[in-house]
């Protein structure tokens, strides 16, 4: 065991190295745009220079004259193809269906050529004439429209509320009111976005990095009015998604159309700069928090209001109030979410979509309240800890928030902190220490899996889930190895192809719970067949026993008294070389047609506040910041997070996920912002040079503590998703530490050195 492979505690799985680790570090793992195809043509997008208006004319003459150019798909070519559907696609905009420009960098054409270079050269020669209108790109811009999210967006169905907030706030002895702002952020997965499409007769194959193979298949089939069975989507590995590859985009149909017109495979790899405008992003927010409390810190009134930017044509809501209103045992609660419609492309999910911006506000406000009350910030959270969520009074399936605080505080040495702002210093460096709560709803979705066990103990697991770097292949394999009593190296896992049984979108941190529950069920079906065969045999060592008393271990069926029968012998009884089982897992309370919907690519994810009991994973994050007293640069030498998230399938991949979350949380706090020029609504920083994310030197000590938590109620696998938990709360922990270091409260991200000079 090592730091990277923590010793498993109770209810934690072995830190098996990733099943694809060697492939990935040697470059052997094949991503969608790496799949070799003969006679491939290359497409390059042409995007708009304006954010609002009409394309009066578009001139392809010079582009068409470029040697190697084969075809140009543009306005008027989408006849017979439906526009994308908001929900399964991130936007309902069909950019080539008409000549209206709704946002900066909108797709106007796809130029296809024999080589990438020729396509790129030709794309640059396309000249558009616009009828330009003045765009509104910001919250404050004239011409935006503000509408309530409720009734206009999918979420929230209701603005969570409880009791009489106004009355309780009025009469509260201690009041806090503050406004917070978070910026636009862009995902920037290292694997660029791409689509490769080819037709074989009437069958379409799409190779595209996606977090939802069946979702993309269903949406593309709908757009082309095809039977989904005639569409295959392949993404063997995905080089990071973070939500950006969850919903489909208008690009896919355009590339597929080009492939059909040319009757040859077409590949379009979107440039980094074009990704900033043809893909979704994290919506900027403005938020207002009001808290009423007693002098001993008990919160009696809590209100959270949010304003979020969205596009003119789609009402995407972040709506983190669904989580923040259930975070503590508030007395009374009010909340509201408003959408501000602007001339931008539609935002969408970005790692912990609702929680990251909204928890920043709440956890900053709690720190402010702690200072107002003269209380320790950890103790303030303890006073307001609860075993029931305050909106409907539902109990949690499990909640170990304060245990996380206690373990993280100890590892961090929180007790050494002098709470007085600006009081701690080392040499030229001001020291600040801050903490915040991490929370993420535990989601689960229907999933299917096929598992095959051979007489020699080899196991094959198949499920069309998506390996984004989360480790889903590894943990699904571990579940099978554990259930079928074989060593992990006997297991092969296949994912990333709609030829396999469907799995849900890799989003909302549901995959481990959902896919492992399906794998578990398939394995249990295999066990049942083997056990029945063994007990039904006339004279075998397990003959006549109760199947419920058997287990599989080390390649044999074993009874409690030690009687055993080796797998090959059981297979001989069955007269089979392999046993294969397909399982459909439907979560408790899921719709009866959940699996049918899954095959159609329609999402039926549940969890969080839904159901009889509320399901959340929690964590506590502690941050140390240093701010140079002379030149004000901000550094983070230490991040400590403790998390309780049910069964941990693999301590290595879990630590890695949570560590990545902490690092991203720090990145969002200090580095990231997509800058939009107010005058043109155009994105200014469109590459990794100007959109800052930390480098190795910026990240120093990161410690992840995995608590033992046993939760039999949350789902059959006992697992709470951790993919998104880690970067919730970190923003606030950093801002709180910055306040402790300097006495300056920053309510807007990112926090940069200019906030500390004159």
């Amino acid at each position: 065991m090592s730091t990277a492979a923590p010793q498993p505690k109770a209810n934690q799985g072995q830190p098996e190295p990733r099943i694809d680790a060697r492939l990935k570090v040697t470059g052997g793992a094949r991503y969608a745009a790496d799949i070799p195809l003969s006679n491939l043509a290359y497409g390059v997008l042409v995007t708009s220079d304006i954010a609002r208006g009409q394309v009066r004319s578009i001139d392809f003459e010079a582009a068409k004259a470029t040697p190697g150019v084969l075809d140009i798909v543009s306005y008027g070519d989408m006849t017979g193809i439906e526009k994308p559907q908001f929900g399964s696609a991130y936007t309902s905009l069909g950019p080539l269906h008409d000549r209206t420009i709704w946002h900066d960098g909108q797709i106007m054409a796809l130029v296809v050529a024999d080589t990438f270079e020729a396509a790129q050269d030709a794309a640059r020669k396309v000249k558009a004439e616009y009828e330009e209108q003045h765009p509104s790109g910001h919250f404050g811009s004239a011409g935006t429209e503000t509408i309530p999210a409720k009734g206009h967006a999918q979420r929230p169905k209701e603005n969570p509320s409880a009791g009489d907030f106004d009355g309780a706030f009025q009469s509260a002895p201690v009041k806090l009111e503050a406004e917070y702002r978070t910026p636009t952020q862009t995902h920037n997965p290292i694997e660029l976005f791409s689509t490769t499409a080819y037709w074989t007769g009437k069958q379409l194959t799409i190779c595209e990095p996606t977090q939802s193979l069946y979702g993309l298949r269903g949406e593309i089939a709908r757009q082309f009015r095809m039977d989904p069975a005639d569409v295959r989507v392949i993404a063997p590995y995905v080089g990071g998604g973070f939500g950006s590859k969850g919903p489909s985009t208008p690009r896919t149909a355009i590339v597929a159309l080009a492939a059909r017109r040319l009757n040859r495979p077409v590949r379009c790899v979107v440039s980094r700069e074009q990704a900033y405008t043809t893909m979704p992003y994290r919506a900027p927010t403005r938020q207002r928090i009001r808290i009423g409390a007693t002098p001993d810190g008990k919160i009696t009134a809590f209100s959270h209001e949010g304003w979020e930017l969205t596009s003119r044509i789609d009402n995407y809501a972040v709506a983190g109030t669904e989580t923040t209103t259930r975070l503590y045992g508030y007395g009374s609660v009010a909340s509201d979410v408003q959408l501000v419609k602007a001339d931008r492309q539609t935002p969408a999910y970005m790692r912990s979509p609702p929680e990251v911006p909204y928890v920043f506000a709440v956890e900053s406000a709690l720190d402010e309240l702690a200072y107002k009350l003269g209380m320790d910030p950890v103790e303030l959270r303890r006073v307001n800890d609860t075993d029931r969520e305050p909106i409907h009074g539902k109990p949690f399936t499990s909640r170990h928030l304060m245990a996380c605080y206690d373990q993280a505080a100890q590892a961090f040495n929180w007790s050494a902190r002098n709470p007085k702002p600006g009081s701690m210093r080392h040499g030229d460096w001001l020291i600040g220490m801050g903490c915040a709560t991490a929370v993420y709803p535990t989601h689960i979705a229907p999933a299917t899996a096929r598992v095959r066990l051979r007489a020699d103990g080899d196991v094959l697991v198949q499920s069309a889930s998506q390996e984004l770097g989360t480790g889903i292949r590894t943990v699904a394999g571990q579940m099978a190895a554990e259930q079928l009593g074989v060593s992990f190296d006997k297991v092969k896992v296949e994912m990333g192809d709609t030829e396999l049984p469907p799995a849900p979108v890799s989003g909302g941190s549901n995959s481990t719970a959902s896919v492992c529950s399906a794998v578990l069920k398939a394995c249990q079906q295999i066990q049942e067949r083997l056990f029945r065969a063994a007990v039904a045999s006339n004279n075998g060592p397990l003959a006549g026993r109760n199947p419920a008393d058997l287990a599989i271990r080390n390649g044999a069926l074993v009874a409690k008294d030690g009687a055993a029968q080796k797998l090959p012998d059981v297979f001989a009884l069955l007269g089979a070389g392999a046993v294969e089982e397909y399982a459909e897992f439907i979560p408790d309370g899921g719709p009866h047609d959940a699996v049918q919907k899954l095959y159609q690519g329609k999402l039926t994810m549940t969890g969080g506040p839904e159901g009889k009991k509320a399901k959340y994973a929690y964590g506590a994050e502690f941050v140390e910041v240093r701010i140079n007293s002379r030149t004000r640069e901000i550094r983070i030498p230490r991040l400590v997070g403790a998390f309780a998230a049910g069964r941990i399938m693999n301590t290595r991949t879990a630590r890695s996920q949570l560590m990545g979350g902490l690092i991203w949380g720090m990145s969002a706090a200090l580095f990231e912002a997509t800058e939009i020029d107010e005058r043109t609504a155009r994105t200014i920083n469109r590459d990794l040079q100007d959109y800052f994310v930390p480098v190795n030197a910026d990240v120093q000590q990161v410690e992840v503590i995995l608590l033992t938590e046993v939760d039999h109620e949350v789902n059959p696998a006992g697992v709470k998703g951790i993919g998104e938990l880690g970067n919730v709360g970190t923003n606030a922990a950093v801002a709180n530490a910055v306040f402790h270091a300097t006495g300056k409260r920053l309510r807007q991200l990112p926090i940069r050195l200019e906030h500390f000079v004159a």
């Binding site: 790129q120 800058e675 030197a697």
Partner: protein
Amino acid sequence: MNRFSYVRVASVAEAVREIASAPPARFIAGGTNLVDLMKYNVERPERVIDITRLPLTAIEETGEGGLRIGALVTNTEAAYDPRIESRYPLLSSAILAGASPQLRNAASVGGNLLQRTRCYYFYDVATLCNKREPGSGCPAIDGINRIHAILGASPHCIATHPSDMCVALAALEAVVRVTGPQGERNIPFQDFHRLPGGMPEIDTNLARDEIITYIDLPSKGFAQNYTYLKLRDRLSYAFALVSVAAALEMDGEQIKEARLALGGVAHKPWRDIAAEALLRGREPSAKNFAAVASKVLADAKGYGSNDFKIDLARRAIVRALSQAAARTPQSQTDKRIT
């Protein structure tokens, strides 16, 4: 990028001949900036002249106690050359403060001088830019200008020069040796880069038909009292918001000579000789350093989002001079804080 033709030259004379002939061409060495600019469609050369085979890859003694660095020496080779490390540690430090190891391995010393600004608007061909399209306008002045100039800017351009290495070369009073159709000439470093004035499209005083061959370092290297302090958004692969090259020659407790150059604040590495002179014969004190900073920044002007750079530069100058005086140069490799 556009289609272009490619020619490789074997001698400086051939390079000069090629650059003077039609159609318009660009030299390519490391390509770390030119290729980016071509990908962004900012540079559209019809011809690219590969100079990587020219015999300009050595670092040699000048005979006057200095060093001559060939224009094709990579940034990495220059930074880790033992003579530069021991005699011109300020230069070594400034180079290591820039870019990333991969970029420094590819980038040439000559090319480092010729990198172009990283102004967002300059890189976005869909926007106006006087540097890219003379006379079209400057959206940075009233736009997002956090990384832009506070000194020596003009109503036509507020871009900054991005190099770290050049800030040290300015402080060290290096000399740029160039060759053109008329033969060789020397350009003092101070005169190599231009202020934008009314012609921001021209970055340097290198003529269109000239090539940089060497950088000469004078004998005085300030190897005892120096620092290169770079303030930026992250600890690698980020251009300076403000950087300071400070070098002192001490005579006991007094400063005999001071050199001070700033990066990230102007269209060229910013050196203020009058401000340096304030330190001559003075003690290295916070008060004296603050007076220098005030003098350097007397005419500084912010444009909105870069207003903070004025105070940041003041703080950086004082801190850098203190580091130089105390012989505690900023480390470019050990970035931990304790």
